[in-house]
Symmetry: C2
Subunit: 233 residues, 2 copies
DNA sequence: TCAAAAGTGTTGAACATACACCCATGT
DNA sequence: ACATGGGTGTATGTTCAACACTTTTGA
């Protein structure tokens, strides 16, 4: 490397979102090493010298969730590099957004004394570095992408009912959606969900058809948005 | 900086888009220094030791376009850091997307032998580094954002007619839009455009009302999309 | 038999497209 | 006068929110 190129540390930080107990939650790590030792932060770490950025994010995701065969959506969110954001010196952080189904309990990573799911609304005040900003950007991105992509299924298990999918929207957006109109909209949008084998009664009532995400892309996804409150029960 | 943190060079690269001669174009720089000396590349450069990422992008934008009082939209696009993408060593590049009105001719920057606007469709094959990928991502982002934001006006001058705004959509998307329905949609969406003083006949025909972008945000932008071909003339 | 959730039908309102038509200017 | 583009009115079709109603299970 030429000597006249200014250098910086490069890290990845992850906002891992899940829907759990009717709440949108993110994974927080209690830092086991300085700086900010003992405080909460987003999971993350430095990119290895010959590691791709996405590979680093995937590695951290696997380490923090204990999930080797993770089925989770992962996308780059944004990059944060304001001078002074890390007391160790100039550190550029490439933030990634992950959407995961309701996982078992995460195992503590190597440099973390503890890891736990926290409601995103209660989390901002707890986080070190500029992680409150990163979290806010991530939640905004996730909320927006539910509108114009079939991404909500990333919060669900391999197969899911339409009601479970609707529940994701309701929790992430904090709105009520009409079960009947939602059902129609989702099932009539080609490629959004495809019927899977079997039904389930895990939600109570009449057995519900199971679905999985389609292999291909959705041509023009639904655009859900707020909508409904009332019902006729 | 601690010794165990792997370091990398941090650059910003810009995709500066404009609508010019009925074509979506981007600014290309002929490299004046190695690597890839003499080839075309996106404008960009290394981030200074105590410079914010956005400040570096703004600085490059001003340098390359010669525009000190630039009125252009600038947003972070994505970050590219695959090992080996730069022969000088590990270089992370934070790409920015800029949308600019049809500017005069750009002035050559300090490390550039030449700069010129090129049609984005003819550009991919010319660019060095991984810049074809960055350009493709930028164009995709720009096309998508026209759908759900009032960003098209960033391609127009301070004040513009509805026809000029429509022209932006037509060029960027490569579609025909019905002038009358477009006019209604844009003017009836509160906050999308606001009437400015005066009219112009620069497009010929009846004088057209001038508009400028509103100060606030648009609550729920239009969602334009393909649409119309026929007419009754 | 009843509660609870799945899923279908139907209706009126909102919106979008297509196009007829009038307006105001330059030549 | 007439060509050119700006802008309004309006009919028809599509989509969407609201909600009545039937289906299928567990308790």
């Amino acid at each position: 490397m030429k000597a006249d190129i200014p250098l910086a540390g490069v890290a990845v930080d992850l906002v891992i979102l899940t829907v759990r107990e009717d709440t949108l939650m993110a994974l927080a790590i209690r830092r086991g090493i300085p700086p900010f030792k003992g405080q909460w932060a987003l999971p993350g770490g430095f990119v290895l010298p010959d590691e791709d950025l996405t590979a680093a994010a995937r590695r951290e995701l696997a380490e923090e969730t204990g999930l080797a065969d993770f089925r989770a959506h992962l996308e780059q969110l944004a990059t944060y590099g304001t001078p002074g954001r890390d007391p160790r010196g100039r550190v550029i952080s490439v933030a990634y957004l992950a959407l995961a189904p309701d996982l078992p309990l995460p195992s503590a990573g190597s440099d973390a004394a503890a890891a736990q799911w926290m409601p995103v609304d209660a989390m901002a005040g707890e986080l070190a570095f500029d992680h409150p900003q990163i979290l806010a950007d991530a939640v905004e991105r996730a909320r927006a992408k539910l509108e114009y992509t079939p991404l909500a299924a990333a919060f669900c298990a391999e197969t899911f009912t339409i009601a479970e999918l609707r529940h994701v929207y309701q929790v992430v957006w904090g709105v009520e959606l009409d079960p009947r109109n939602f059902h129609r909209k989702v099932t009539s949008t080609r490629g959004f969900v495809i019927p899977a084998d079997g039904t389930t009664t895990r939600d109570g009532g009449r057995p519900a058809q199971l679905f999985s995400v389609g292999p291909g892309d959705v041509l023009r996804p639904p655009l859900m948005r707020p909508g409904t409150v009332g019902d006729d029960r």
